[in-house]
């Protein structure tokens, strides 16, 4: 199964960071000096010194809209051993959630991260639940050690786009092109 998913990644998955609609990206409870782009944007996220950190407590709520519909296959979360995230809840196509209503709907998927995952091993998700994703909300509920601050070094999303199956490169695909 893991072999299959590994080959699936090689075969068809694309790093979806290029399809993120940056104008609508939100992150609640992030610390101002250590904010979401540190974990998401190319260049920053590969630097392990730059983290996304939580502020008032250990939870984080990240909202990522996409420029087009995607299918999400797996995610990569890298973080330090102690303060890295543990329980992840993913909600597909729910806009503007707050900490108050995260418990109101069941998540599309839940992931508990192991230390392997924190090293960069992708977490395979229930693909069937993420077939038609316009926006993704990631709720980081707690961290590995239970400390007050959660740190995330990298968030990567692997999947495919729906509109087109153009696998050539990571070029952003404009609307209405073939």
């Amino acid at each position: 199964m893991s072999g299959e998913s590994a080959s699936a990644i090689q075969r068809s998955q694309v790093d979806l960071v290029d399809f993120i609609d940056w104008s609508g990206v939100e992150c609640l409870n992030q610390s101002t000096s250590h904010s979401l782009p540190n974990a998401l944007k190319q260049g920053y996220r590969d630097d392990d010194g730059l983290n996304l950190e939580s502020d008032a407590d250990e939870q984080l709520l990240i909202y990522l809209p996409f420029t087009q519909v995607i299918k999400l296959h797996s995610i990569v979360i890298k973080g330090p051993e102690e303060e890295g995230p543990k329980t992840l809840k993913l909600y597909s196509n729910k806009e503007h959630m707050g900490f108050g209503n995260v418990n109101d709907f069941p998540p599309s998927d839940t992931a508990v991260l192991s230390p392997d995952n924190l090293q960069g091993k992708p977490v395979v998700l229930k693909y069937v639940k993420f077939q038609n994703v316009r926006s993704l909300t990631i709720f980081i509920e707690d961290n590995q050690s239970g400390s007050d601050i959660t740190k995330v070094q990298k968030i990567g999303l692997l999947g495919t786009t729906v509109e087109t199956t153009d696998m050539k490169g990571l070029k952003k695909i404009e609307d209405h092109q073939h």
């Binding site: 609640l28 409870n29 101002t32 502020d55 008032a56 407590d57 939870q59 806009e95 503007h96 707050g98 900490f99 108050g100």
Partner: protein, 406 residues
């Protein structure tokens, strides 16, 4: 000009009956609320403001965040004073109201007026503050009224829990001669973190402090720009008209003498006035040729009219030096003068007059502003005199002229 949704929490508890803030604490609070609403909506037209009361029977939302200032002001009427303030519940309801704002792009802000003693524990307030910070809601606290021990401490603790990068503020307003609103105007609550509403705030401050005397015409340009502009324009027009009248008198004298000594400066000034739409500075006419359009029309008419061909030199000799080159103006003046010399303004008479080159030249001579040696003037006169057709053409042209006149 930050896009913001604001909820204002009003304290309408029994403690607000006190008169240590003139006229009463509640009134002072209302004025402050009105000012804040105005400032917020002015700094960004898409800003929304909502109001809720914290005391009385319970926390009650009077108006959900809206950009309609009238609605907000209306809901402030008929508020009753009574009960005890429930700060925690008030803030939480405000947070809920902001969560359901229509435009999710707006920043969330709560402004709390804390006038009565606070019965909550510091811990509870800190937890509330943390929750606000987690949901990126900014909080402004106006501490006035009761000076209870521990109240200030609790509010400061609340602020510390909420504050994220100095977006939240607390203001302590002691009772005194200056009104609550005046004190608030200079605070970051009004000025929106240093930018944005400062224009409104500055104007409001000036109006409040020095009365309206600071402003021209007694009208605040910020509050009523159209009125201020209208007043200014009419003042200028009046000045222009008065100058024109003065020039007219001076020119009349000059014209009657047919002298050439009129200072060209005067003529230029009058011409400028004319450009402003004031009545032309030509002398005692009853003519209706008072603007450039008519002048241009007359020029067109003149060009289509026929003239016998007198000598150019006569005209040249007669005309005086001038510094302007406005042939249309000259023409208009000529025609206006001609009109006044006869009672009717019939076209045929005028054309006949125009045809009379000597008359034209004498008129031109009396105009200090016209340079006969100027090429454009010469061209104009040449065009007039180039017509060699018989006068009957005038009659044909008359109906056309009538049309043009209209």
């Amino acid at each position: 000009m930050v896009l913001e949704a604001t909820m204002i929490c009003i304290d309408n508890s029994e403690w607000m009956r006190n008169g240590d803030y003139a006229p009463s604490r509640f009134q002072a609070q209302s004025d402050a609320v009105n000012l804040i609403c105005g400032a917020k909506t002015q700094s960004n037209p898409e800003n929304t403001v909502g109001v809720l009361t914290m005391a009385g029977k319970g926390v009650r939302v009077l108006v959900t965040p809206t950009s309609d200032l009238g609605k907000i002001l209306a809901c402030m009427h008929g508020l009753e004073i009574g009960g005890e303030m429930n700060l925690a519940a008030g803030i939480q309801v405000a947070q809920l109201a902001l969560k359901h704002r229509q435009n999710k792009k707006q920043q969330q802000r709560i402004i709390v007026f804390a006038g009565s003693p606070i019965k909550h524990e510091k811990k509870l307030l800190e937890m509330i503050g943390k929750k606000l910070k987690k949901n990126s809601v900014a909080l402004d606290i106006v501490n006035f009224g009761e000076e209870d021990e521990g109240k200030t401490e609790k509010l400061e603790a609340l602020l510390a829990a909420v504050n994220n990068n100095d977006t939240s503020h607390i203001v302590h307003v002691p009772s005194g001669p200056s009104a609550l609103s005046d004190v608030l105007i200079s605070t970051p609550i009004f000025t929106g973190d240093g930018e944005g509403g400062s224009g409104f705030a500055a104007a409001a401050a000036a109006a409040a402090a020095g009365g309206l005397s600071g402003f021209e015409f007694g009208v605040d340009p910020n509050l009523d720009p159209e009125l201020a502009l209208a007043l200014r324009v009419s003042m200028e027009e009046e000045r222009a008209r008065q100058e024109a009248a003065a020039k007219k008198a001076a020119e009349e004298a000059a014209k009657q003498e047919k002298g050439e000594g009129e200072p060209s400066g005067t003529q230029e000034a009058t011409m400028t006035e004319r450009a402003n739409g004031a009545t032309p500075e030509a002398d005692n006419k009853t003519s209706d040729l008072t603007d450039d359009e008519n002048a241009l029309l007359q020029q067109a008419l003149a060009m289509s009219m026929d003239d016998p061909a007198p000598s150019h030199e006569l005209r040249d000799a007669d005309m005086s030096d001038a510094t302007t080159d406005d042939p249309e103006l000259a023409l208009a003046l000529q025609l206006s003068v001609q009109d006044s010399t006869k009672d009717s303004s019939s076209q045929s008479d005028m054309s006949k007059l125009l045809a009379d080159q000597s008359f034209v030249s004498s008129i031109l001579a009396s105009l200090p502003g016209v340079d006969p040696n100027d090429q454009s003037v010469k061209d104009l006169l040449a065009s007039m005199q180039s017509q060699t057709e018989p006068q009957q053409k005038d009659d044909d042209k008359e109906p056309k002229e009538e049309e043009e006149k209209q």
